[in-house]
């Protein structure tokens, strides 16, 4: 194997964070379905689903802070910061690639480097997910975990149904995201290339 063609794009802490997050997401989505549709689904008893959901939820909140501290302390957080000057043309270019070029076998317009591993679309999506959607999901989850304890904040934000609406819409969004994310991960130079990279840290270039 030619090592010169390999780029180290996923450092150890990021890989650990990613796979813990991935496993957590699957568990949260499954238990989330059981909790939301307790009268229809019977995967596990409701109280067990809630207990697991709570424990895994808090684990992922901790995991989020591992990610945040790592990215802030290393300055790598800038890979999530959008460059408004190039954002729109790059995003259009990337959309054209995914919607047309990829089927023809065109080259990906984005060339991954350790400091610029996301294409314009990924950058936007992950910035929104990591900096808006995940915090919103975590916060709404904590509120739902202790409804009485946080009742003042819940009332301030429009009531428990509003909090639940945020949590549920994001839950479905993340369910959809996991499917699309897994599919997009097959778009490497081989279908398993990106999966392997997330284990080894090295992306073939």
């Amino acid at each position: 194997m030619n090592n010169e063609k390999r780029l180290y794009v996923h450092p150890g802490p990021v890989r650990v964070w990613h796979w813990v997050n991935a496993l957590g997401f699957v568990i949260l989505i499954l238990t989330g379905f059981q909790i939301r549709f307790a009268d229809i689904l019977n995967i596990m008893p409701l109280q067990d689903a809630i207990t697991i959901h709570n424990y895994v939820g808090f684990t992922l909140i901790g995991n989020y802070f591992i990610w945040l501290i790592y990215y802030l302390s290393t300055g790598k957080i800038k890979i999530y910061i959008l460059d408004v000057r190039t954002l729109v043309p790059m995003a259009i270019k990337q959309m054209l690639y995914y919607g047309y070029g990829i089927f023809r076998g065109d080259e990906n317009p984005h060339h991954m480097t350790p400091d610029n591993k996301f294409n314009a679309l990924q950058q936007q999506a992950y910035a929104a997910i990591m900096l808006i959607f995940l915090p919103a999901q975590m916060l709404s989850g904590v509120f739902l975990w202790k409804v009485k304890g946080y009742s003042d904040y819940i009332h301030l934000l429009g009531g428990i149904k509003t909090i639940d609406t945020i949590h549920v819409i994001l839950f479905f969004f993340f369910g959809s995201f996991v499917m699309i994310h897994c599919y997009l991960a097959t778009l490497g130079h081989t279908p398993l290339a990106h999966f392997k990279a997330m284990f080894t840290g090295y992306e073939d270039h």
Binding site: D39, T51, T165, S176, C182
Partner: protein, 373 residues
């Protein structure tokens, strides 16, 4: 004059005759006679008539004002109707009746409650030497109508006097939420029908509005309340009618939201709390079709203590009009599920569609690769 005297004698004799036939008619003890002594706040006795049968000093003071508001006084029950072993008062003695009265037997009137209680865990503790009489929970002289009582009031007045719910219920998630919104009896006496009450609460002061406050703000009488709300005249308050009510109150500077509680109907069977039969199947309640939400109502207490119950469409529980109430799974907003499934279907279809096109376009890519070479 003679005629008058004869008449008086006749009536007097007739009265004496009546008294002879029915002694209590002539000797009926008025509450006021009892209150001659029992209005004294320092009046006490030593007794062992308590749950642990230990000797304690018990106050014999009766707050007349509070007693007058009690359900028993409202229904014309007098002191001696319960304290039946007081047949007469001997005012020549310092203590005009016997020193130790028999315990009041509530089941003389409350037969069904008594029968249900006999089968309950609270009767079982007699085997451990603990006697639990009705008034251990219900109190003595100040029993009030409790239909409109909140979960907190019912809990504090009854179960929480002895039980600390946090010592048990290890298995129960969101304990605080359950204990504050669901009456103990709902789970611990699952045979009892349940009902949902909607109260008006001011979130800033955390105070429940009284019926009078709401009616005063709306500028209507008790009898005008339902006609004002029920614009479609079907006798049920639906979502939009409830929204109108909130709006009308807001216009009157009452920023109340609906506080929702799950309570048990006040039926005799509610006394039949048994060991090991408490409902632990969460899905019984946390289900969109749960029978627990069949009865939803707003209660208004009239000045005379009577209660008007206004039926509310159970669909309001799933609406954003009750934005401060959500019972997981049970009162979920169905629209969110539809949006959610669209999101999931969109994700799945997007991925599958893209994959399908990728598969169908393999020959194009192969050809271009060969051409390049």
């Amino acid at each position: 004059m003679k005629k008058m005297t004869r008449l008086t004698k006749c009536y007097g004799l007739f009265f004496l005759f009546l008294c002879f036939l029915w002694p209590s008619a002539g000797l009926a003890i008025e509450n006021s006679e009892c209150m001659d002594c029992h209005s004294d706040e320092s009046l006490t006795k030593e007794c062992t008539d308590n749950i642990l049968q230990t000797s304690i000093t018990e106050s014999l003071y009766v707050d007349e004002d509070k007693f007058n508001h009690s359900v028993h006084n409202i229904n014309g029950i007098t002191c001696i109707d319960c304290h039946t072993d007081i047949e007469e008062l001997n005012w020549d003695e310092e203590l005009p009746h016997k020193m130790y009265l028999e315990p009041v037997v509530c089941t003389t009137c409350h037969e069904e409650e008594g029968e249900a209680y006999k089968k309950s865990v609270h009767m079982e503790i007699l085997k451990k030497g603990i006697t639990m009489r009705c008034y251990a929970c219900h109190g003595y002289h100040y029993v009030e109508y409790s239909e409109t009582a909140t979960v907190a009031e019912r809990g504090n007045n009854y179960c929480l006097k002895c039980h600390n719910p946090y010592q048990y219920h290890e298995w129960l998630p969101a304990k605080e939420a359950h204990f504050s919104m669901v009456e103990c009896v709902v789970c611990h006496s699952p045979e009892v029908p349940n009902k949902i009450h909607l109260n008006f609460i001011d979130l800033v002061s955390n105070k429940l509005y009284t019926s009078n406050e709401i009616l005063d703000a709306l500028g209507v009488d008790y009898d005008e309340f339902m006609p004002l709300l029920d614009t479609n005249k079907d006798g049920i308050i639906n979502s939009s009618e409830l929204e109108n009510l909130a709006l009308m109150l807001r216009l009157k500077n009452i920023h109340a939201v609906f506080h929702v509680e799950l309570l048990a109907e006040l039926l005799p069977i509610a006394h039949e709390v048994k060991r090991g039969t408490a409902e632990q199947d969460c899905v019984k309640c946390h289900s969109a079709n749960s029978t627990y939400f069949d009865s939803v109502s707003i209660l208004m207490t009239r000045d005379d203590g009577t209660i008007d119950r206004y039926e509310v469409d159970r669909a309001v529980l799933e609406s954003y009009n009750l934005s401060h109430f959500y019972l997981m799974s049970g009162t979920r907003v169905k629209l969110l599920d539809k949006i959610g499934f669209l999101l999931l279907a969109g994700g799945a279809c997007g991925a599958l569609g893209h994959l399908t096109i990728r598969i169908f376009t393999i020959p194009i890519r192969r050809k271009r690769k060969t051409d390049k070479k």
